[in-house]
Every structure is written in C-alpha cells, then in structure tokens.
Amino acid sequence: QQQVKQSPQSLIVQKGGISIINCAYENTAFDYFPWYQQFPGKGPALLIAIRPDVSEKKEGRFTISFNKSAKQFSLHIMDSQPGDSATYFCAASINTGGFKTIFGAGTRLFVKA
C-alpha cells in the first residue's frame, strides 16, 4: 500500500521528441507528488511537484498530469534534449506528524542526438 510503481524502466527518445514516464500509487493518503532527476554521482534534484487537488502542472518543458480517481500520475518532457539524459524518479509523500516520501524504482532516459 506504500508502494509507488513506475514505468518504463528505461526509455530512449529522439532529440526533440516527447518523453513520457508513468507512475501509480495505492495509498490515497499521499498528499504530495514530486518528480526528481538524478545524474550519475549526484543526489536527486526536484524537477516539479503536484498536489492531488490539481490535474496538471507545467513548468517549462516539464508537465505533470495527475489522475486522482485512477491513482496515476505522469511526467511529460517536451522537446527532449540530450542533456535530459538522466534517471527520473516519481515519488509520493504522506504527512503523519512528519512526512515520509516513497520513491518509484526510476526510469533511465536516454535522448539520442
């Protein structure tokens, strides 16, 4: 019930294309859904986040789509660039007197030049 399932495990996209990563969760008590980008040898960096009362959020080339009834959310990267090649993690946070964040297993994205 605390899991966050992420797919695909890896993704290859042409430069200029759209990268789409999907996540699903079970626990309806999750109240904050961030996406992180991680480069090798670095810690994760927050890309964009959404709360469940919003169905879509866009920041630059990054968009989160959120479907509360289906308990699914996705990250769209428009006009994908080689510099976007990294591992992407979706996550879900729950607040019960302190917050706990559960991460998905990650998607390795490679953008071909």
Binding site: Q6, D31, Y32, P34, Y36, G41, K42, G43, P44, A45, L46, A49, R51, F89, A91, S93, N95, T96, G97, G98, F99, K100, T101, I102, F103, G104, A105, G106
Partner: protein, 113 residues
C-alpha cells in the same frame, strides 16, 4: 548559499563494524531526512528528524539510528554492518515538518566488505 553537504564522500567498512554519516542541511532548513539508495534502485526512506526528534521512520531495523543537533545538522549511525548495507546514503533537508520541497545532498557511498 551552501546546499546540503554530506561527509564523508566514500567509506569502506567490514561486516560487523559501525559507521556514522554526517549531514549539514541547506541554510534556513530545520528538517533532515535520510534515504538509502541501492545501485539501480530508488531511494528508500530511513527516517526524518525535526526539532531534534525522529518524526517518521521507514522499514529499517533498529541497527539504523540517528540524531539531530541543535544547529539542525544530523548523523546517521548504522551498527553491525551487513553486506546488504552497501549503498548510497542520501540526506535531504527541508523547512518545517510539512509536505514541502526537499533538497538532496550528493550522498555518501558506503561499501561493506
């Protein structure tokens, strides 16, 4: 403005030993969370400290313990090390105990032989 810093960068220990990892939060942050990231996996939540108390804990045994100091810095201690404890240990800081953006440090790579 210094971000989240962690020390040491790398560490090699043998089974049964004990280890202490350190984290200094981003300036202005008072909450520290610790994560374990095995190779090729998403970060796993260990625990969160706020106001020098453990506020939330993930599914980790009591061999994993922590501490937060009055200046908000934090330590992660692992006793009786197992081979399976080999991982990247990440510290993340945030402000307050609510659902807000976390900033991650670069991590400490622990190898247990």
């Amino acid at each position: 403005d210094a971000g989240v810093t962690q020390s040491p960068t790398h560490l090699i220990k043998t089974r049964g030993q004990q280890v202490t990892l350190r984290c200094s939060p981003k300036s202005g942050h008072d909450t520290v969370s610790w994560y374990q990231q095995a190779l090729g996996q998403g970060p796993q939540f260990i625990f969160q400290y706020y106001e020098e108390e453990e506020r939330q804990r993930g599914n980790f045994p009591d061999r994993f313990s922590g501490h937060q100091f009055p200046n908000y810095s934090s330590e992660l201690n692992v006793n009786a090390l197992l081979l399976g404890d080999s991982a990247l240990y990440l510290c993340a800081s945030s402000w307050g105990a609510g659902l807000v953006e976390q900033f991650f440090g670069p991590g400490t790579r622990l190898t247990v032989l």
